[in-house]
Symmetry: C2
Subunit: 136 residues, 2 copies
DNA sequence: ATACATGCAAACACTTTGCAGCACA
DNA sequence: TGTGCTGCAAAGTGTTTGCATGTAT
């Protein structure tokens, strides 16, 4: 982090992510911001999401097969995407995803980051008739 | 799997993936095929990689932050991408990535798939001077 | 004053899709 | 002989970047 300038836009992005508890994608954050502040550009939102996650103020959740999302909750936890409603939820797993970080594995790899994500069916969608989904 | 037709193109894609041991991206598979068989289209390669992984003949490795890759080795194992040389390697972890699959977690999620990937520095790149990389 | 940040639009990387024609079972 | 597959090109999705201008320190 070599930049330290506090801009109105950066503050708005941080505030917006903190107000969204549904693991929004970068574009969802942009859309919400754009509704209130139409002059803020998509590039600025993307750049600030990157800055804020790098500086540890928000969590950047890298999702395979789909847009990455952002989480105001920076604590160590995992995520699951529902196959039906496509929403992302927190999930608790019986191990830390970070146990292996900054360790060297038997083959000589230095592990710097561990990414664990799940796919499944959320409680609201399970039991719903084929093709249906939770309140879409 | 409802399609069962064996085409020359499908066979070429399977053979090519089996000959590549470096976890190629779809585009890398296409590039190699295109060198030998210029008439095979990118779409066909992508469609067959999808088909072959769905039918269990190859492994589709979903990588966050970059192109997905394919693995001739369909056994249960994890992958790590080197931050410096960007290559993908197999890695062994002290747990099965599939232990949680087809289980219901305490919050009522049915877990269908578990994706575990690592980022780090490969043995060839560690110890190399800043900015350097393994034989680039 | 000046280096960092912004807005815009275009470019980028990766993948999917519509469609007309082809070929495997 | 028909439906599944192919090649082509275009579109789709998500994200980054070059550049001129603006602004926080």
């Amino acid at each position: 982090m070599d930049s330290t300038r506090n801009t109105i836009q950066r503050d708005i992005v941080l505030t917006m992510v903190r107000s969204m508890t549904d693991h929004p994608s970068a574009d969802a954050v942009y859309a919400k911001i754009h509704g209130e502040y139409p002059s803020i550009s998509r590039a600025t939102v993307y750049r600030n999401l990157e800055y804020l996650s790098r500086s540890g103020q928000i969590l950047h959740v890298e999702m395979p097969n789909g847009a990455d999302c952002y989480d105001f909750n920076t604590s160590d936890h995992c995520h699951i995407r529902c196959e039906k409603c496509k929403k992302v939820f927190d999930i608790s797993v019986p191990f830390s995803t970070r146990i292996l970080e900054n360790k060297t594995d038997p083959d000589g790899f230095l592990i710097t980051k561990c990414n664990v994500t799940f796919t499944g069916i959320c409680p609201a969608c399970s039991g719903v008739s084929e093709g249906g989904a939770c309140n879409e």
